[in-house]
C-alpha cells in the first residue's frame, strides 16, 4: 500500500559522522556484497570490465571540499543511502504499491515482485537513493539491511547493517531515532545532527553529524623570524639596486 502509515514510534535509521568518515568506500563494498546475495534481485553491473562500467549501488560516497569562513579548505567524505524519510515522496507516487514504508519500524522497502520499473519513485526522491536495476528492471534501494538486523541466525554482533558493521572508522551508527534515549539520538543531540535538504519536506530519519571545527594555527609561526634574512655586503647592495629598478 503506498499510503504512508501513521508515524511509527520506532524510527530505525543511520547516523553518519562526517567528521570521522575517511572516504574508504568500505561501506559501499560491504553493502553491495551483502545485498547482492540476499534481499531481492542481485545488484547487477553493466560492462563491468569494459570501458564504461556502471552498476547498481544502494550506498555511494561523495567527496566535497568545504572552506569554512576564515578557515582552510577541508575534504568531507559523504556517504549517501536512503534516509528512510517519514514523509517519503517515493512511496506515495508509486502506482503499484511496490514501494512501502513499514508501519512497525519506518523502514522504506520495495516489493520487487510488484514493481513495474516505472522509475517514478527514483524521480520523487531528492537524494538519489533509488536506482533501477538495469538487469532486473526493478527498483533497488537501501533496505536498512532488514535481513540482518532482525536475523536470529546471525551472531548478535552481526545484527546491524552491513555498512555499519564494516566501517573501519566507526563513522556509521545504526539505531532507533524515534527513541530520544537511544545512543544514536543522544549522538544527534550532542553533535547537532543535520537533515539533508529539509526544504523538501521529506523529514528524513537518517542524520548527518557535521565535521567538527578545526583548530587554527597561531598567526605567527615560530620559525618566522629566521625567514626574514637580511642580505649584507655585495648581496645587500645588489638587493637594494634591484629593488630600485
Amino acid at each position: 500500500m503506498t499510503s504512508l502509515p501513521p508515524p511509527s514510534d520506532k524510527k530505525l535509521g543511520l547516523v553518519i559522522d562526517l567528521d570521522i568518515c575517511v572516504g574508504c568506500h568500505a561501506c559501499v563494498t560491504a553493502c553491495k556484497g551483502w545485498n547482492d546475495q540476499g534481499y531481492g534481485a542481485p545488484l547487477s553491473d553493466q560492462d563491468a570490465w569494459g570501458a564504461n562500467p556502471s552498476g547498481t549501488f544502494l550506498n555511494r560516497v561523495h567527496s566535497y571540499e568545504i572552506t569554512p569562513e576564515g578557515g582552510v579548505p577541508q575534504l568531507v567524505h559523504f556517504p549517501k543511502s536512503c534516509l528512510h524519510c517519514e514523509d517519503a515522496p517515493c512511496v506515495t507516487v508509486c502506482p503499484t504499491g511496490a514501494s512501502y514504508k513499514r508501519a512497525e519500524d519506518g523502514i522504506v522497502l520495495v516489493n520487487e515482485s510488484a514493481c513495474i520499473g516505472c522509475g517514478l519513485c527514483a524521480w520523487a526522491c531528492p537524494y538519489g537513493a533509488r536506482e533501477l536495476d538495469q538487469a532486473a528492471g526493478v527498483m533497488k534501494k537501501c533496505t536498512l539491511c532488514v535481513d540482518r538486523i532482525y536475523n536470529e541466525n546471525l551472531p548478535e554482533v552481526d545484527r546491524t547493517p552491513a555498512c555499519v558493521r564494516t566501517c573501519p572508522t566507526g563513522a556509521r551508527h545504526f539505531g532507533d531515532l524515534g527513541d530520544p534515549d537511544s545512543a544514536v539520538s543522544k549522538l544527534v543531540a550532542e553533535r547537532g545532527g543535520m537533515e539533508l535538504m529539509p526544504e523538501q519536506g521529506t523529514k528524513p530519519v537518517n542524520r548527518y553529524l557535521p565535521p567538527r571545527a578545526k583548530d587554527r594555527l597561531e598567526e605567527t609561526a615560530p620559525l618566522a623570524p629566521l625567514l626574514d634574512i637580511q642580505a649584507t655586503g655585495f648581496a645587500g647592495w645588489l638587493d637594494r639596486l634591484l629593488d630600485r629598478i
Binding site: 500500500m1 503506498t2 499510503s3 562526517l18 568506500h25 559501499v28 564504461n52 562500467p53 556502471s54 549501488f57 555511494r60 560516497v61 561523495h62 567527496s63 566535497y64 571540499e65 568545504i66 572552506t67 569554512p68 569562513e69 578557515g71 575534504l75 559523504f78 549517501k80 515522496p89 512511496v91 506515495t92 507516487v93 508509486c94 502506482p95 503499484t96 504499491g97 511496490a98 510488484a114 514493481c115 513495474i116 520499473g117 516505472c118 522509475g119 517514478l120 527514483a122 524521480w123 520523487a124 526522491c125 531528492p126 538519489g128 536506482e131 533501477l132 538495469q134 528492471g137 526493478v138 527498483m139 543535520m194 537533515e195 539533508l196 535538504m197 529539509p198 526544504e199 523538501q200 548527518y208
Partner: protein, 289 residues
C-alpha cells in the same frame, strides 16, 4: 531529466488524442458515419499509441496492470484509471455517431470531461515532483491542458483553432520563461543538500568514475546548449505556423493535415525541452544540474 522518447511520445500523443476526443465529445465537431470513423478513429489511435509507448518506459511491463491499484495516492495510477474510463465512456458515443448517425450530447460531454481529466492526471505525474522545481507548478497542468485543447481543436477542424494555437504558443513561451528561475527560487543548493553550509562547498569527487542510473536518468546537461533555438522553433511549429496555415489555406483536409503535422513536430520539440531543461535536485550532489 533524460528526455526519453517513450515518455515524450506518450505525453504528446495521449494529450493530442484525448484533446481531439474531448472536442468530439462536447459535440463541437459533429460528425456521423464515415466522417465519425475518421475523427473518432484518429482520437482513439493517438491516445492508444501514446499509452502503448508509455509501457516501453517500464522495466517490467508485464506487470503493468498493477499500476491500477494505488489510485488513492499515486497520480500515475489515477492516470491509468482516467484514461481507461475516458476511452470506455467515449466508446458508446463514438459507436452511436458511426453506426446510428446519432450524437449523444450528455454522455459525450461526460466522456469529454474525463478526457480532459486524463490529461490533467498525466500532467500531475510531473507536477507533483518537488524534486524538479521547473515542473512543480500550476503552469504544468495548464500547459498540458492547453496542448490538448488547442491540438484537439486543430484536429477537429474547429474555426477557433488558430486563436487557440496562438494562445498556446504564448503560454508555452511563458512557461519556458518562468521555469528558468524556479530552481534557484526554491533555494535548493549544495549547501542545503549536504548540510555543509557556513562557508563554501563544492563537489570534489563523484562516488564513481563512470556514470550511473541517477546521472543518466536525472542529470541531462547535453543538448541544453541549443535550448534557445529549440524554444523558438517549438513555438513557431506548435503555434504560429499551423495557425497561419489554417488562416491562409482554404479550409479542408489538406490545410488541417499540414497544420497538424507542423503542430505535432512543434509539440515533440517542446516536450523534449520540457524534459531536457528540467533539473532534478539530485544533480546538486554531483555538482551538476
Amino acid at each position: 531529466m533524460h528526455p526519453a522518447p517513450s515518455v515524450i511520445i506518450f505525453s504528446v500523443l495521449t494529450g493530442l488524442g484525448f484533446g481531439l476526443l474531448a472536442m468530439l465529445g462536447f459535440g463541437l465537431a459533429p460528425a456521423t458515419g464515415w466522417a465519425a470513423v475518421v475523427t473518432y478513429g484518429a482520437g482513439y489511435a493517438l491516445a492508444t499509441a501514446g499509452l502503448m509507448a508509455s509501457t516501453f518506459h517500464l522495466g517490467n511491463p508485464q506487470r503493468a496492470l498493477r499500476a491500477f491499484t494505488q489510485w488513492r495516492t499515486s497520480w500515475l495510477s489515477r492516470e491509468a484509471w482516467a484514461s481507461v474510463a475516458a476511452m470506455m465512456l467515449m466508446a458508446p458515443v463514438a459507436a452511436s455517431a458511426v453506426f446510428a448517425g446519432r450524437l449523444m450530447p450528455v454522455l459525450g460531454a461526460l466522456a469529454a470531461v474525463l478526457c480532459l481529466v486524463t490529461v490533467v492526471t498525466t500532467s500531475m505525474i510531473y507536477t507533483q515532483l518537488k524534486t524538479v522545481p521547473r515542473w512543480n507548478h500550476w503552469t504544468t497542468p495548464a500547459l498540458f491542458l492547453g496542448h490538448a485543447i488547442a491540438g484537439g481543436a486543430l484536429l477537429a477542424g474547429l474555426g477557433n483553432a488558430p486563436v487557440l494555437l496562438l494562445l498556446l504558443g504564448l503560454f508555452l513561451a511563458l512557461t519556458f520563461r518562468t521555469g528558468d528561475g524556479r530552481f534557484a527560487d526554491r533555494g535548493h543548493t549544495l549547501a542545503t543538500a549536504t548540510g555543509l553550509g557556513g562557508g563554501s562547498v563544492r563537489s570534489f569527487a563523484p562516488p564513481h568514475t563512470g556514470s550511473n542510473y541517477l546521472m543518466r536518468e536525472m542529470i541531462f546537461v547535453v543538448g541544453r546548449k541549443h535550448a534557445v533555438k529549440l524554444r523558438t522553433l517549438s513555438i513557431l511549429l506548435v503555434s504560429v505556423l499551423p495557425a497561419l496555415v489554417l488562416l491562409v489555406l482554404p479550409a479542408g483536409l489538406i490545410a488541417t493535415l499540414l497544420a497538424a503535422v507542423l503542430h505535432l513536430i512543434g509539440a515533440f520539440i517542446g516536450r523534449w525541452l520540457f524534459f531536457a531543461e528540467a533539473e532534478h535536485v539530485v544533480g546538486l550532489y554531483y555538482g551538476l544540474r
